[in-house]
């Protein structure tokens, strides 16, 4: 049972345009959400996060939006750059959990074309 889903395996955008990556979750107990970025032959690296008490968090070109009623979050990258080409993983956890387990989605491969 996939609790975190990224239904788009891949996305291709032109440099300078907006990239929107989507993520859905089913567990209403999740209260903290993260995005990780992964380049080939490297481990994932933290990109941005959002708590369920917020509906938006921004960090430079990256903004994450959370719609709790729809159990949906999205990552916006504006403007997109070729160096943003990577696999992006959405992850979720329950903040009250003392195990810190993150549940990841399947990932979306973003290609930004020059």
């Amino acid at each position: 049972d996939q609790q975190v889903k990224q239904n788009s395996p891949s996305l291709s955008v032109q440099e300078g345009r907006i990239s929107i990556l989507n993520c859905d979750y089913t567990n209403s107990m999740f209260d903290y959400f993260l995005w990780y970025k992964k380049y080939p032959a490297e481990g994932p690296t933290f990109l941005i996060s959002i708590s369920s008490i917020k509906d938006k968090n921004e960090d430079g070109r990256f903004t994450v939006f959370l719609n709790k009623s729809a159990k949906h979050l999205s990552l916006h990258i504006v403007p997109s750059q070729p160096g943003d080409s990577a696999v992006y993983f959405c992850a979720a956890t329950t903040g009250s959990s003392n195990t810190g387990k993150l549940i990841f989605g399947q990932g979306t491969t973003l290609q930004v074309k020059p």
Binding site: G43, N98, K101
Partner: protein, 111 residues
């Protein structure tokens, strides 16, 4: 980053042989995790540890065991490797519930 290292980086092994992957951290973090990455499945949790000798199963733990005898080392063992365990394995560490740092991964091929 030198905070977390995985060894080996690549390994090819035969079906039925035991394999041990090592994760070593220098950050003194309490939590350590083993994930596997497979196409179409993303990152799936195999086992995790919340302290020395304290471990628990994740969502895909069958065929794997772990040990943590020291804070800095978390070992993942495949008792008898199968082709379905061909994957890229990532170790991660954290001190708080959402602060993961990942290692660079181990690419394991079971032939």
């Amino acid at each position: 980053d030198a905070g977390i290292t995985q060894s080996p980086r690549h390994k090819v092994t035969e079906t039925g042989t035991p394999v041990t992957l090592r994760c070593h951290q220098t950050e003194n973090h309490r939590y350590m995790y083993w994930y596997r990455q497979d196409p179409g499945h993303g990152l799936r949790l195999i086992h995790y540890s919340y302290g020395v000798k304290d471990t628990d199963k994740g969502e895909v733990s069958d065929g794997y065991s772990v040990s943590r005898s020291k804070t800095e080392d978390f070992l993942l063992t495949l008792e008898s490797a199968t082709s379905s365990q061909t994957s890229v394995y990532f170790c991660a560490i954290s001190e708080f519930s959402a602060g993961y740092t990942f290692g660079s991964g181990t690419r394991l091929t079971v032939v």
